[in-house]
Symmetry: C2
Subunit: 167 residues, 2 copies
C-alpha cells in the first residue's frame, strides 16, 4: 500500500487499493526473479525460481481477471513494502562470496517475498468475502495456494540440502 490518503473511505476502496498493491508487487517480483534464477547455484533452487516465474505470470493474469470482474481499472500502485523486500533480495543476489551461502541467502529472501504475498492474499480474500465477492475470493485463493506451496517447497529445499551445503 503506502498510498493511504483520504480517498479510502470504504472497505471496498481498501480492497481495490490492496489489489493494486499486490498487482504492483507481483510485477516487481516477475522482474526480479530472472536475476535470482541466474544467481542460484543449486539446480533444484534454480529450477524452483524458474517455475515460480511462470506461476507469477499466471498470478498476474488472475489478478487482471479480478480487476475486470470487480469492474475496476487494471492498475498498480507503489508499494514500499515489496520494494524494500526486493531491495534486500537483490542485495543478497549481488554480493555474497560463497555460492552455497548465497543459495541459503536467496532462499531466505524468496521466503520473505512469499510471506508478503501470503499475508496480502489472506487479507484480500477475507475482504472479498466480506464484500460479497466470493467469485473474486476464489480466484485470489488460487494465488494464495500457490504462494503457500512455493514457501513450503523453499523450506524443504533449505532444510534438506541448501543449508547443509552452506554450513
Amino acid at each position: 500500500m503506502g498510498f493511504f490518503t483520504k480517498d479510502i473511505k470504504t472497505l471496498n476502496d481498501l480492497f481495490v487499493h490492496t489489489l493494486k498493491d499486490i498487482y504492483y508487487a507481483e510485477q516487481q517480483i516477475a522482474k526480479n526473479l530472472p536475476d535470482m534464477v541466474e544467481k542460484a547455484t543449486d539446480p533444484g533452487l534454480k529450477n524452483g525460481f524458474q517455475t515460480h516465474l511462470s506461476e507469477t505470470n499466471s498470478q498476474i493474469a488472475r489478478l487482471e481477471k479480478v480487476f475486470q470482474m470487480h469492474g475496476v481499472e487494471i492498475q498498480g500502485v507503489d508499494c514500499p513494502a515489496i520494494d524494500g523486500i526486493l531491495e534486500e533480495a537483490s542485495d543478497v543476489a549481488g554480493d555474497v562470496e560463497d555460492k552455497q551461502v548465497l543459495d541459503a541467502a536467496l532462499i531466505a529472501a524468496a521466503q520473505a517475498v512469499e510471506h508478503y504475498e501470503i499475508t496480502r492474499y489472506g487479507t484480500l480474500i477475507a475482504w472479498a468475502k466480506m464484500l460479497g465477492r466470493d467469485d473474486c475470493a476464489s480466484i485470489l485463493q488460487q494465488n494464495l495456494d500457490e504462494e503457500k506451496a512455493t514457501d513450503e517447497k523453499l523450506n524443504t529445499m533449505a532444510l534438506r540440502s541448501v543449508n547443509k551445503k552452506a554450513a
Copy 2:
C-alpha cells in the same frame, strides 16, 4: 538485510547479519506500535496492539541474549524490508477517513509485519540449528511462537468483528 557485501562469507556470517536485521526490525516495530495503539478504535484491537508492544520488548531482550550467547556484539543493521512495511503501516494509521475501515487497514498492516517476522525467525532457527546452536534456536523459537500467535489473534479479530464493522 539489505547490507549484503563481500563480508558475508559463511553461513555464520549470514546468521549474524540476519540476527542484526531482525533486531533492528523489532526495535522499529516497538517504536511504531504506540501509534497503532493510538489509532485503533476497536477496543480488542487497541488492547491487542498494547499486548504486542510488551511482547516486542521481551522479544528484543531475547535477541540480546542470543547475541550474547553467540559471542557477538549486540547491534542492529538497516533493513529496507521492515522500513517499507512500516512505511505502509504508518500511511494507513495516518489517513483513512472511516474509523472502522482504518481498523481493518491497521490489522492488514500489522499482519504484514508479523509475516515478515515469521519468515525471518523461521530462517534464523533453521540456520542456528545447522550451526549447532540449538540453544540459540530454542530462544528464537519463543519469539516465533509469539509472532505466530499474534498473527492468529489478528486473523480472528479481523474475521469475527473488525471486517464486519468495516463492511
